[in-house]
C-alpha cells in the first residue's frame, strides 16, 4: 500500500501540482473569473439502497460473484446498503480553465474512501467550425455510454454493463488528452487523442476474476481483491491488484495512449470508435509481484434516438492482455476478452425505463493461466426511475449467469446464476 501511495504521489500528483503551480504563475490569469470555493463549485451526490439477491459471494469480498453484493447461496439475502457518495469540487481558474476533483465514499460489503478523479480541463471559445478542449490528470477515458456527470454516475440504471464496470475498475489512467470537434455541414466529428500512464496492471481483474457488473470504481491508492488463485498462479500474482499503477520505477517510462473518433450523423445517431493500448511491458514486475499487463482493446459504441423518447445504446468491446515473461513463445497470461450489450431507454416526463441484455467472455491461452480461467456468460437487466427534484428513485432487476472452471477449486459449481433486485434513492445537492 505504502509502495503504491509513494508511486502515485511521486508519479502523478506532482505533475498535476506542477501544472497548477504553473497556472498560478501565469500573468494572464483572469482574476475576475476566479471561483475556487463558492457554493457553485461544490456538488454532493449520494445514494442509499435496498439490495435483495441470491447467489455466490461477491468479488468485492474476494469471491467469484459478479455483483456488488453477495447472495446467500440459494437463499435470498436482503440488506440495506450505502451506495456511492461523491463530493465534487470544480474550481474555476479562468473562464477556460477549471479543475475537477472527486472524492468518493463507497459503501456496501467493503467500505472505502478516496480520490476518484482529479484533472484540469481547458476549453477555450470555439471558432464557427472547430472546437478544441483538453484535459490532464487522473480521469476516466471517454468510453462509457452509460455514465454521466463529474461524479460519473450511471444514468439510466443502478448497475452498468460489464464493459463499463470494467472501465471503472481498471481503465483509469493519468493522461493528457486533447479533443477537436468539427462541424462539417450536418455532420459532426469529434476526435480525441491522449497519452497516458499509471495503468500498467489493467487486465488483472479481467483475467483472474472475469467480467463483473457493479457501480464501484477503483479509487487512487486503493487495491482490488482477486478471487482464490491456484497454487501455481499464486506464485506469480498476489490476491490483489492495484489498477492505478506504474509498475517500473518512475513515472510514465512507457506511456500508453488512447484515441477516439465520434461521428454524429445528420440523423439522430452517433457512432464511436475507441482504441486503448497501455503499452505496459509484460515482463516488468515490482517488489509486490505486480506485473506489467500489456492491454489493448477496441470499443465500438452507437447511440440512436428512435423517437418518442426512446433511445438505443450499444457497445461492443474486444481486446487482449498479456502478462509475464514468454515461455515457449507464450506469455504467462494471454487473455483475449470481449463483451457487448444493447440497451433501450424510454423517458416520459420524470419517469424513465431501461432494459439491457449483454454477453461476455474471456479466453485464456497463456503458458501459466489456461482455459480453466475462461469466463463466459450473459446478463439481463430492467430498471425504472422517477425523478423528484434533487431526488431520483431507481428500481432494478438484474440477472447474471456465468461459467468459470476455476470456481471448482473452491468447491463451487462452474456455472453460477445470480438474481438481484435493488431499490436506490439518489440525492444530488
Amino acid at each position: 500500500m505504502a509502495f503504491v501511495a509513494r508511486r502515485l504521489r511521486f508519479g502523478s500528483a506532482i505533475p498535476l501540482g506542477c501544472a497548477l503551480a504553473a497556472l498560478w504563475a501565469t500573468p494572464a490569469l483572469a482574476q475576475s473569473d476566479l471561483n475556487l470555493f463558492s457554493a457553485d463549485s461544490f456538488e454532493l451526490t449520494g445514494d442509499v439502497r435496498f439490495v435483495m439477491g441470491d447467489g455466490e459471494k461477491s468479488w468485492v469480498r474476494g469471491g467469484f460473484g459478479k455483483l456488488r453484493s453477495s447472495g446467500n447461496g440459494d437463499d435470498v439475502r436482503v440488506q440495506p446498503e450505502l451506495g456511492n457518495v461523491n463530493l465534487v469540487w470544480q474550481p474555476q481558474f479562468t473562464w477556460s480553465l477549471s479543475a475537477t476533483i472527486v472524492g468518493s465514499l463507497q459503501g456496501g460489503e467493503r467500505t472505502e474512501a478516496g480520490l476518484g478523479q482529479a484533472y484540469l480541463s481547458f476549453r477555450p471559445m470555439r471558432s464557427s467550425k472547430l472546437a478544441f478542449s483538453a484535459r490532464a490528470g487522473l480521469m476516466f477515458p471517454p468510453v462509457s455510454l452509460e455514465h454521466e456527470g463529474a461524479d460519473w454516475h450511471v444514468k439510466d440504471s443502478i448497475t452498468p454493463s460489464t464493459i463499463n464496470s470494467w472501465i471503472g475498475e481498471e481503465v483509469r489512467p493519468v493522461a493528457v488528452e486533447g479533443t477537436l470537434t468539427a462541424h462539417l455541414g450536418e455532420h459532426k466529428l469529434r476526435a480525441t487523442a491522449a497519452i497516458m500512464a499509471v495503468n500498467d496492471t489493467s487486465g488483472t481483474l479481467l483475467t483472474f476474476r472475469g467480467w463483473a457488473l457493479h457501480d464501484r470504481t477503483t479509487l487512487a491508492f486503493r487495491l482490488q481483491p482477486l478471487p482464490p488463485l491456484d497454487e501455481e498462479v499464486a506464485e506469480y500474482q498476489p490476491r490483489f491488484t492495484h489498477p492505478l499503477l506504474d509498475v517500473p520505477e518512475g513515472f510514465a517510462h512507457r506511456p500508453g495512449y488512447y484515441a477516439k473518433l465520434a461521428w454524429q450523423l445528420p440523423a439522430p445517431v452517433r457512432v464511436e470508435l475507441f482504441r486503448y493500448d497501455n503499452r505496459a511491458h509484460p515482463a516488468d514486475a515490482n517488489d509486490q509481484n505486480e506485473w506489467g499487463w500489456r492491454t489493448q482493446f477496441d470499443d465500438f459504441g452507437v447511440e440512436a434516438d428512435l423517437g418518442s423518447g426512446t433511445v438505443l445504446k450499444a457497445q461492443a468491446l474486444e481486446g487482449r492482455t498479456r502478462m509475464g515473461f514468454e515461455m515457449q513463445g507464450r506469455h504467462l497470461v494471454d487473455n483475449r476478452f470481449r463483451s457487448a450489450f444493447a440497451m433501450l431507454t424510454h423517458a416520459f416526463g420524470p419517469f424513465g425505463l431501461a432494459a439491457r441484455v449483454e454477453a461476455f467472455d474471456t479466453r485464456n491461452r497463456g503458458s501459466l493461466v489456461k482455459d480453466e480461467y475462461d469466463d463466459s456468460g450473459w446478463s439481463a437487466m430492467i430498471a425504472a426511475k422517477r425523478q423528484w427534484g434533487i431526488v431520483t428513485g431507481l428500481v432494478e432487476l438484474l440477472q447474471v449467469s456465468s461459467e468459470r472452471e476455476s470456481r471448482e477449486d473452491s468447491g463451487l459449481e462452474p456455472r453460477q446464476r445470480q438474481t438481484q433486485l435493488q431499490a436506490s434513492m439518489r440525492m444530488r445537492w
Binding site: 457553485d40 471559445m125 459532426k188
Partner: protein, 206 residues
Amino acid sequence: MVRNILIALALAGAASPLAAAPLSVRVVDASGRPVRDAVVTFNPATGARAPRPGGHFTVSQRDLQFHPFLTIVPVGADVSFPNLDPTKHHVYSFSAAKRFELKLFAKDQSRTVHFDKPGVVALGCNIHDGMSAFIYVTDSAWTVRTNAQGIAAFADAPNAPGRVIVWHPYMRVPGGTMQQAVTPGQRAASFSIRLRAPPTMTMTDY
C-alpha cells in the same frame, strides 16, 4: 372629438384591404404531417410593414437547454439570457445576423444582447454541446410561427400580391428557405418541406 376620430379611423379601416379574410399558411413535412415552429413571413409587393421596433424578450437556460427553442423578435429587440441552471454556460452565436458570446456564471446571472439586423441567429453553448436554439430577427410585421397544426395565420395581412417565405431550423433546402407567390384574393397557401432529424443526440461531455 376623440369619438369622431375613432369613428373616422374605423371607417378608414373598413374601406382598406386590411379588412380581408386572414391569410393562412399551412406547412407539412414530406409525409404530410404538420410542422410546428416553422417561421412564415408574408412580404406584400407593396412593401412589408415594419414591426413595432424593439421590445424585450427572454431566452433562458434551464436543465441544460435553451427555452424557448425558437424566438421571433423584431429588429431592435433586446434579448436577455438568464442562466437558471446551477452550472455555468457560455452562450455564443457565429451567425452573420449577430455574433456574440456571453459568459454566464452559475444561477440567476443574466446578460442582454441587442439584435439590430434581420436574419437567423443560431445559439449554442461552448460548454454544453447539446444546447441549441434559434432567434429569428424580422423586419416585417407579418412574421409568425406555425402552431401544432402546422398553421401560420396572418389576421391583418393585406389582400395584395406578395410572397410567402418559410424557414425552419431543420429544413433541407438550398438557401435555407422556401418561397411562394401569393396572388390578390388568395388567402391560403401550403408548403411541403423536407426536414432533417433534429440533432437530439449529443457528444458525451466529460
